[in-house]
């Protein structure tokens, strides 16, 4: 009941704002409430993300693959294709912002999945180009050795050297 009254009061307030000029106090009050709700949703999302991971990707079967770019020289990654156990599990075309983010040191989580303990063949293929338009591509294979715990593998792309390196984390 209190909630309904509260909402009704706020809706009345909202209507009043519509009818009148927007005051500084209104703006400040609203801004603080927006900040509060943002914080709450961030916390809630973090909890939900953990719940999702626990439910869908339990640690004993979880495998996650990450893509990073090693080049100091300008290189624009266009696409990456990841094949795990003979099946294409990820194919990503990069936007300008994503390329920029990778170049600044960001690491893209390209795939999260479940596999049994043991060895799993991984193939990675990429296409990219330099600002001058020269195209580079390469593919490489790796063996993922999955143990009891979760497995994280970094796929590090050295574009202008047409090289892919793998790192177990």
């Amino acid at each position: 009941m209190f909630r309904i009254l509260q909402i009704a009061l706020l809706l009345l307030l909202a209507a009043a704002v519509n009818a009148q000029n927007v005051s500084r106090d209104d703006i400040r009050g609203l801004d603080e409430q927006i900040q509060d709700v943002k914080k709450d949703v961030i916390d809630l999302t973090a909890t939900l993300a953990q719940l999702e991971e626990k439910l869908l990707f339990p640690s004993n079967t979880q495998v996650a693959l990450f893509v990073s770019v090693a080049d100091e020289k300008p290189f624009e990654l266009e696409s990456v294709e990841v094949t795990l156990n003979g099946e294409i599990v990820a194919h990503h075309l990069y936007t300008y912002r994503e390329i920029e983010s990778l170049q600044k040191g960001g690491v893209q989580k390209i795939y999260t999945g479940n596999v049994q303990a043991g060895g799993h063949p991984l193939q990675v293929r990429f296409i990219g180009k330099t600002p001058s338009g020269k195209e580079y591509r390469a593919n490489a294979s790796y063996q993922i050795d999955k143990a009891v715990g979760p497995k994280f593998v970094e796929i590090r792309i050295s574009g202008t050297e047409s090289e892919i390196n793998f790192k177990d984390w």
Binding site: L10, L11, N18, I34, K38, V41, T45, T61, F66, K109
Partner: protein
């Protein structure tokens, strides 16, 4: 070395709005650009890199969630120092503050950074935190608090933020009216590449406000003379010229003002106001023919622009001043038609906003994915005329409202997706339960049997192990006998007992044979003892390896068994709680969206109504002026008709007029008729668009004649030159 987050954030904005609003936002974001080209830091924690992947794309929400998660996990660890995330800890805590600031969560950002300040960190880190805290206060328009934060800085400031810190300090001083100190700081900052242009702009403003008029004008003039291919840089130079031109015009320095207006790029966002200002400079000097040159260019531009609408009255006003009343009347007529159309559009736009179409358009995701999305909104069905809202939408407050509204909408959509996901989770859980529950009892039964056997084998192994350990201390050859030997040993033992009970029942040969066999057995066990012990030890090692494998399988089975159970048990409460929290958040989000949306609508309607009432006032002025122009044109027409009749009459008279004509008969012909014709012809010779005319060098302008002010006989039709005043006030506000 830290990744300069804000530097990444400052770069991207909607291209259309970016140009319009750059003065509003770039000054605040630009200071972080200094470290944009810093080398990439070596990554020590994969998940920190993943959070940065979002951060560099300005996906603040996901970046904050990821970093918060990592920080929370890190703080829960028993030995956090062993976690590789500890290498990025300071950076992560700063980054969370930065990201929250970018996500307009000032309070949280402030808390995060204050926590760093209170923590046990080096002075350099503390200084950077103080700088960031000051920046937050400055963003929140609390310059005094910003200054207090800056005063906490002692000693060395990290190089990558040193210039930014000085620039922020200068702007804080400007806000607080400590202009001399600001000027000194800004002078020191001149030459700083990352702040190029902005330092000079602020320095010029500070000098102008501090009374150093001449120096301020010189500083801004030097900045305004620059040219750049980058639209954002060029817009800054244009704005500088517009500001100076308006300032000088208001100060009555008309001869100096015109070149500044002329320097403004004709294609830039400030070109309309510059053309209008250039015309007003000439009009104020009484040179209406020259005023018409920029005004006629402006007249043909987008009819929704405020300057264009103002010039639609200014052009006929100038023609009126030049006594070309018929042309003036035509232009007034055109202006009336245009104003009528625009008033109808504005009325439709206001209705559309009140029906909620504006917010509906803002909520569309695709809207922000195109360049100039604000302008593109008007192409949506029944969406309002956003050209009228461009200035409003480019203002800081409105931008904040828009972003908040879109953030709330984004959170609402995310939560909606989570609600769907929760339903899917429940389906997964029930499917798993349905699969595992019938299987598990049978599996458990088998497991128990196997488990008993495994335990038995483990006990046996332990027994062997302890025996071997004992044999290392005390010699026990019999333990190492083979099964046959053990049997033989037992038989011999039996025979010994029988012999002992009944010695006469056995022959000497038999007793001797038993002894010999016993001796052989003992000898073999004794001589092969070490070899056998070694073998036994090797076998124990092999057994251990096998047992280890068995244990691995056993653990794997136990984990799988647990995983099977955990895959569907214990989630219900979490899911129910999460669902309730999401629903509660959705209610709050809806309510806040409604309030924020109402503010957006109210401000938009207010702006459109302001423009509509302005146009209505222009319409009234244009109607009166049109009537006045017709009257004057008719008057001239009648005078011409009279003149024509006199001519006809004169031609009809065969006899010549007396030589000594009265002078009043000749005067009108030369003074009125010819002048009228020449003046009517004059507008036709004016170029429709003549950019070269706008680039008149200073020397060509020459000193203005005194007394060249507009006459007071038509003030009621003259729209007030509000643009110039607004330019100055806006420009002063731009330092924020």
């Amino acid at each position: 070395m830290r990744i300069p987050l804000l530097s990444a954030f400052s770069g991207v904005a909607g291209a259309g709005l970016r140009v319009l609003s750059f003065t509003l936002c770039s000054l605040s974001l630009l200071p972080s650009v200094s470290g944009a080209d810093d080398d990439k830091e070596e990554l020590r924690d994969l998940f920190f890199g993943a959070a940065m992947y979002y951060a560099h794309q300005e996906n603040y929400f996901d970046a904050i969630v990821a970093l918060d998660n990592e920080l929370a996990q890190y703080h829960r660890l028993d030995e956090p120092a062993l976690d590789p995330f500890s290498n990025h800890l300071g950076q992560a805590e700063f980054s969370v503050g930065d990201l929250e600031l970018s996500y307009r969560m000032h309070r949280e950002a402030g808390r995060a950074i204050e926590a760093v300040l209170k923590g046990n960190v080096s002075q350099e880190v503390r200084n950077e935190a103080a700088y960031r805290l000051a920046k937050i206060h400055y963003h929140k328009q609390q310059p005094l608090n910003a200054l207090h934060a800056l005063e906490m800085i002692e000693g060395r400031v990290p190089l990558r933020v040193r210039a930014d810190e000085q620039f922020l300090r200068a702007r804080v001083f400007m806000e607080l009216g400590r202009l001399e100190e600001a000027v000194e700081l800004l002078k020191d900052l001149k030459g700083e590449e990352s702040l190029e242009g902005f330092v000079e702009f602020n320095l010029g403003i500070a000098q102008l406000k501090s009374g150093e008029e001449a120096r301020g004008v010189l500083e801004l003039t030097a900045l305004g003379k620059r040219h750049s291919g980058d639209p954002a840089d060029q817009a800054l130079y244009d704005k500088t010229n517009l500001l100076l031109g308006s300032h000088l015009m208001e100060a009555g320095e008309l001869q100096l003002a015109r070149p500044y207006f002329d320097r403004v790029n004709l294609e830039g966002p400030f070109s309309n106001r510059a053309l209008l200002g250039a015309g007003w400079v000439e009009a104020r000097a009484g040179r209406f023919d020259r005023a018409l040159v920029p005004w006629r260019i402006l007249q043909n531009r987008k009819g929704t622009n405020e300057s264009v609408q103002e010039v639609m009255l200014a052009v006929p006003y100038a023609y009126g001043k030049l006594d070309v009343h018929s042309t003036a009347a035509i232009h007034y007529g055109r202006a009336l038609d245009a104003f009528g159309r625009e008033i109808d559009t504005l009325t439709a736009s206001i209705n559309s906003i009140r029906q909620g179409k504006f917010l509906e358009a803002l909520r569309r995701k695709e809207a922000t994915q195109v360049q100039n999305w604000v302008v593109a909104l008007r192409n949506l069905p029944e969406a309002p005329e956003t050209h009228y809202l461009l200035d409003l939408m480019a203002s800081n407050d409105y931008q904040e409202f828009l972003r908040n509204y879109r953030d709330l909408n984004d959170l609402y959509e995310r939560n909606k997706e989570w609600l769907k996901s929760l339903a899917a989770f429940e389906d997964i859980i029930s499917a798993r339960r349905a699969y595992y529950e019938p299987l598990l009892p049978q599996l458990d039964e088998q497991f128990r049997t196997l488990d008993a056997r495994i335990k038995l084998r483990m006990e046996q192994r332990d027994q062997f192990s302890s025996r071997i350990e004992q044999m290392l201390v005390s010699r026990r050859p019999e333990y190492l006998a083979t099964a046959e030997e053990q049997e033989a040993r037992l038989q011999l033992l039996q025979l010994h007992k029988q012999i002992a009970r009944n010695p006469k029942g056995f022959t000497e040969q038999s007793r001797s044979r038993v002894e010999r066999l016993q001796g052989i057995l003992d000898l073999r066990l004794s001589t092969e003892y070490h070899q056998r012990l070694t073998e036994a030890y090797k076998h124990l090692q092999a057994l251990n390896a096998e047992i280890e494998k068995l244990q691995t399988v056993y653990r794997s089975y136990v984990r799988s068994r647990q995983a099977a159970t955990h895959s569907y048990t214990g989630y219900n409460k979490d899911i129910q709680r999460s669902r309730a929290q999401i629903r509660s958040a959705q209610q709050r989000l809806e309510m806040l969206m409604a309030r924020q949306g109402s503010m957006l609508e109210a401000l938009a309607v207010e702006e459109l109504e302001r423009r509509r009432s302005q146009l209505e006032s222009y319409q009234i002025k244009a109607r009166f002026a049109l009537a006045d122009s017709y009257d004057r044109a008719n008057e001239l027409q009648e005078q011409r008709e009279d003149q024509r009749k006199i001519e006809q009459h004169r031609e009809a008279q065969p006899e010549t007029l007396p030589e000594q004509n009265p002078p009043e008969l000749e005067a009108p012909e030369s003074e009125n008729g010819l002048q009228e014709q020449s003046l009517e012809a004059q507008p036709e010779t004016l170029p429709e668009s003549n950019p070269a005319e706008l680039k008149v060098p200073e020397s060509e302008n020459g000193p203005l004649e005194q007394g060249g002010q507009p006459q007071a006989d038509q003030p009621e039709i003259l729209p007030e030159n509000k643009s110039a005043e607004r330019q100055v006030s806006e420009a002063e506000g731009d330092k924020a």
